[in-house]
Assembly symmetry: D3
């Protein structure tokens, strides 16, 4: 079984702890990005996974590539070149103060990549699963075109395709997103979203639920999943449900909708260490479950359990093993010391 994820890998610059940007003279310098995060998740689960992107050929790019290699992701398919590595600055929030992300990702190598930078014959050789997020086509029309080409090439080879909608309003308008993502949607088998994404990207709304209030509306989520399925023919729709009590405390669960039925996971009360990459770790857990052929309930429990654990881990990457996720979803959520 081999998986390809395709997207942008960025340098993440973040003050330590809860310091604000203007207080510090050091930034934690790690790496992350939606599809790279999924790749690391899968590598940690023992899956053969390669990350595909274009990354600048300088020592900063080397460090980015090394960060994936370190956790076992195949980086041999990455194209090296272009001008720069995209950056995002992250300030961790606390209590009522929200986390803050400042993007400096324009003109990155992947954002200015061209069709000829990627040899899909080589990339998709013996591949079973292809994953990308809505961020990738949002990087520019050129990248949207490359993504479309990737989907077409994958589909030709009967590769299952998953996409996390991940709408980013700073990258494109809802109209642009709708147009591009609707075109890509026809290739997608498994879609991952939160309720906002569905509304922002596909203009699909449920009747109730206001995320800023932290209330859940199960029926609304089922409704959204049904509409998405009807409109685009997705085989599976997974929706993550985050209730934000504060920057430190969130409730976390999700729903998998497949074959006309909805499966809700248990809900975790999480005390957050690092929230960024939480959605990606859900994607990683979901893809793993699908590759393993877990039943729908176990699939959604594994994906939610995996991402619950991610919230306890610093950095974008989810560094947990299959055993750790299984232990959690098996009921061991008390956090007792393991000796």
């Amino acid at each position: 079984m081999k998986v390809i994820t395709f997207g942008e890998l960025m340098l993440r610059l973040a003050p330590e702890g809860y310091y604000r940007f203007t207080q510090v003279d050091k930034f934690g310098a790690t790496f992350g990005g939606g599809e790279a995060n999924v790749a690391v998740s899968l590598a940690n689960y023992g899956i053969d996974v390669a990350f595909v992107s274009k990354i600048v050929a300088n020592p900063i790019g080397d460090a980015a590539v090394n960060s994936l290699r370190r956790y076992g992701v195949d980086t041999s398919l990455i194209t090296r070149g272009g001008d720069r590595l995209g950056i995002y600055y992250l300030e961790k929030g606390a209590s009522q103060r929200p986390s803050k992300v400042v993007y400096d990702r324009a003109h990155s190598s992947i954002a200015e990549a061209k069709q000829e930078d990627f040899d899909w014959d080589k990339i998709f050789k013996d591949v079973d699963f292809f994953h990308f997020t809505g961020i990738t086509p949002a990087l520019g029309e050129n990248v949207a075109d490359i993504t479309l080409r990737a989907c077409q090439e994958a589909k030709k080879r009967n590769i299952t395709i998953s996409c996390d909608l991940n709408y980013r309003k700073k990258l494109w308008s809802k109209e642009q997103a709708n147009k591009t993502m609707s075109e890509l949607a026809e290739y997608i088998d498994v879609v991952i979203a939160n309720e906002e994404d569905a509304a922002d990207v596909f203009n699909i709304h449920s009747t109730a639920s206001d995320v800023t209030k932290g209330e859940l509306n199960k029926e609304g989520y089922i409704e959204v999943a049904q509409k998405l399925t009807e409109k685009f023919g997705f085989k599976k729709v997974a929706i993550t449900l985050r209730e934000s009590i504060s920057a430190n405390d969130n409730r976390w669960s999700a729903m998998l909708y497949t074959d006309g039925k909805a499966y809700f996971s248990r809900t975790y009360n999480m005390h957050i260490v690092d929230r960024v990459g939480g959605g990606d770790s859900f994607g990683g857990g979901l893809i793993y479950s699908l590759l393993m052929g877990f039943d729908p309930q176990k699939t959604i429990e594994f994906a939610v359990g995996a991402s619950c654990l991610k919230h306890s881990i610093e950095g974008d990457y989810n560094l947990v093993s299959v055993e750790e996720v299984l232990s959690l979803i098996g009921g061991n959520a008390s956090g007792r010391v393991q000796r």
Copy 2:
């Protein structure tokens, strides 16, 4: 609009995280002090504010001055000279273990300052607002006299005067405080206190409420504010209400009493990053609101929202913008990531 704050700026030496004094071989070295903290708050809100003090003319004093300059406070009115910079050592508490402050502030330059160190004609040129705290006159009789002189000079120029009572039992007795503060009270327009301060300094008590139990008694606070107003003729009395669940978790709200009416803010359940400077950030928010002419309810909400955010920030200084405070008091308290 120009504001002057007057008081002591100290070096704050604190072990990182939750380490105890006796465990570490490094101290975080930042700066803070009641009136300096208010000045930084105001500078962050875009107000033209100068901090007035006497600070030792050596590199440690330079660093103290730079810490204010960095955040936009005018430091050109600070007198340089004297023997030393006052110090406070801070050990952050956790759970049932309280935070601990060890003072080493005696003999600081400001504590040994003289009347001639300050040229109030120059300092109060074009000034609208003057702020100090009860800590300043407590530094010594000389400083109490200087403070009295400052109040008289301010009053002559129709400058509004605010004072945060901030009773410190290690600096003076209740009797000393009562005598000195009663004399200063006649110049003060806006007084900031917590219930204990009013009792400690002015021997004014409410009927109920035991702070160590973390219970609130709204009627009691109104009663205290009424008595203060009656006795000293304050135009506004602001009382902060802290309920301490543990060193990590506090509830936080406040009351503004003005024109015979009491306005209570909403209450925040705070997960604390750094509690020191919490009261000062309230003062900063209150003064800003008064300068902006906010109505009483918005005034108290802004002041409490500002200080709520301070509790999520490391160090004495409150590094938040007007926009961030307005967003919080506008209802956005869920701590969701801002991208």
Copy 3:
């Protein structure tokens, strides 16, 4: 009054904060071990206490010895020699992710010590109290024999003996533990355990209570204490009661059973800084209370208060004073800043 504790002191290597082992390039390097932790507790309470062990004669061993000396533990009775200092790697858990301990303690100097390494005449000169844990005899048959000899020598001199059962499944089987500990039990006056220990070591079970669910069963604990007392003739049985909400939040209390009566402490809701050494700090508090002759209720309150505070402190050692514990058990649990 003089106390001896006997056991292993290890190097503790731990990533900072909540980082995982595989993320970091630095380990916090401190020292700890059940009986050494108790010794530090007692030294902080002003008790004359010596730690007895065998520690490698190289700079790493020197650093281990220094760590005790620093906090006032008498280290002059430690035998220096052997091959290595045992190590334990600690990864702090958060939320649903449990803390993880990886042991690398085999072949340590104490694990390979011999009878002739210890001169009990010298060690027990003028000693009143002797403490060890179930970990020490589990280090090997040689160490079990040395421990037996120590108990015999102590008994000869009318020294009170306490033992914290502390069952470690990675060190020995339940059968081995039962055999060895049963033999040692006849010398023990005060036994400390949690419900699991009693079951694991002595096969003594209560009727109800499932620790993984975080529920308490007071009757069950009394039952266990009674059975232990009946079987081994312990003078006092202390059982700690931990309810694990998550890796960050625990509830903590304990019971002292003596003279046929059970005394339960109040329960603390703890926000955890460092959970390791929590049980040892209970032992330290208990021994202090016994040495001071506190009544049973104050004894158990002091022991639980002391260990509650330990959970707010980084590292194995409990660095609190008698005054701090008394303040907490006197009702001051709100964590308000002490100026």
Copy 4:
């Protein structure tokens, strides 16, 4: 006396100590840039100096501005806006391994600034001295045009203009540099260069001296200065002379050519802490000397002494006082402790 410096301020991201880019997970995050560095030098000497640039209006830009404000540079004339803050990554070399700079400065706010971003009437009010470097016009034709405009406006007001040639081959070709700098040269009173700059920018060569061999050729430098003076009519030409023994050890001196005479400074054997900003600190010292009206020999000694000290200081900014420079050039170079 007031000075304006105009150019780019960048975020400097650098591994600590001598670590390579690919080894670390933290970057020191400070700020620097040729003209900003000169401004900080001057502020430390007590000169009223403002830095002019365009800086992005986000918290990263705020931190950049604060870094200047902290050291007393007037930042009120900075235009806020645009897309991003330029970055340079710095890896400090050691012994035979050279320091490495990776630029990521394209598309910064200043690189995409427009004429209307700067109000020269306001900027040059009461100004005596204007400084920029050859890096600024190299940022793009738009910035070259703005720089030309600045020179014209300065000249109109009889403001003395200095320029450090600072040729950067990654920013423009020698041909572009020659064309643009020749046009600007007619406005420049004081030019600062090293031998390579004169060759690279103006195609002016001396007969001997090969910098990679670390040999000096005094006659050659005089020759270059003469030719520059003849060709462009500069009033003063200052040439820095660096002999690189290794990344840790450099020899450092300079020559000032004025009124047809050359003045050489003493030479310092420097053990380097941070070499970046070394040339800028020379510029800062030179401008200070000119403002003070030092004689030519003292001028060049002050500039070289100031930059010698800079090499012992971390970061781009030269944080030394006039007294420290005077002490050094007065002969106190033994590094004895000052108590």
Copy 5:
């Protein structure tokens, strides 16, 4: 071209900077070991290289494996299992104070490995070069036997074998070393040593040169190489020549003896950042040169240049590229900033 290196990978625990073991509460935690260091060198030069060993299957072992994977070493042939990862503690010396290494490597997984842990058919598939050091057989008779087996299997497949003698007196006696290494010598094509190694392991002495005095005796080295060649039939003998001025300053050069002729490299005056791994980086450079078919003079220059650069890099691993080594040996040793 594929290379295998075989040996032990250890956890390296080192105080930061020049701190002593007993001063710190943090250890830098990186990984290293003779053959692993060579593997990383080769991976950085773009060579396909796998490291073979047995490493404990716990998170500490995972981190060790990741450290190689990060820099591109193939780790898929490592056997996972056994009891522990070997450790070495390193205290960096300065000036007259020597660096200090404390080993805690007994009972590591590789030291207790068995023949059946390694499948040489799989390991040596398509391999051209095999490298080990004298440390590996010194780990125990079992490991000496495995190493012998590896040499036999390699020889069968016409794989070139290199060995760095690396005598460690704490691991075995000269007699044991002589016996075992003499047996292995018959398989070795390329031997790397310093003068002491040849004397310690093979009892081969030159006439002059006392390493503690820092004097070189070129004739003596040639003599040693001749004797080694005569006795064991090595094809190439490389001898490194370290002159230790102080812990901070060393002179460094080497000799390659091949086909009856000796080739001496230039000598570098190195200001040392981290001396550990210096010899291994020489081995890495030598093997690279041999694989590339460089002529003898370029071979020894590359190997010495590579290891010269290593001395400027923190950690065991030599993180330099072919381009950087070529630039140095091409004459660019002045350490000038590369922009």
Copy 6:
């Protein structure tokens, strides 16, 4: 053999590495002071040594005491009480930039101590050697009186007395020093000084040698020692000879004058890690040699070797063993790694 040292222990606050005071937001927080430094030296050599002082009874004072206890100094004779712990801020110099010390030691507990704070009967029980420095009597007339009393009490008991002159111009004038030290001199057996001290304190000058030029004048030192001996009847005079090349590089040697003869040590070229405490470590080595009865040449070599090593160690305390010093003075100064 038991030694008492008497003086002040201060908190040392120092930026890491070569950062300036105004750059950092953390200070290394260690402890030091002339006589405490000597005590730690002696404890490391295995001597039974107690430090006597008055130290404030708060957690900062606890940490100071612990710092001595950690390295084996007996702290049981320290009086706890008073107002504060003295502080010195240290900025490490580099190259031509000198280290800078800012004192904040006034009003410390020892500086305000009284005769009754010290029970010399108890302190001097079974003591052989008493050491203090000229800093102690300089703290104030009260402390000078206490020091005189200590000398008288010591002399009564035939305790050998040593004193390091250590003139500090910020503490007293040359006149004050002369008066007080001359009175104390009659009790002193062994005096330690540098040439400046003798001139500053006793107005004793040699004919030549200018320390700022880094030249030595052996005859001058002998002359000074002779004059000191003649005037005060010292049994031994030790003079340290520092030649300061730069803040990084010093030459270091010393002379012992006894029984009318001068013994010069070898000279070390030191690359400095931390120069503070260099003189104290000389005193520690000298006292150790005297206690051991080394001959004069070995005495001065041991003292100089010990202090040479101190310059390679961070912090005030000299953390070296007898073996390390003996190895160095035995000729092993090449800094080769010890495995």
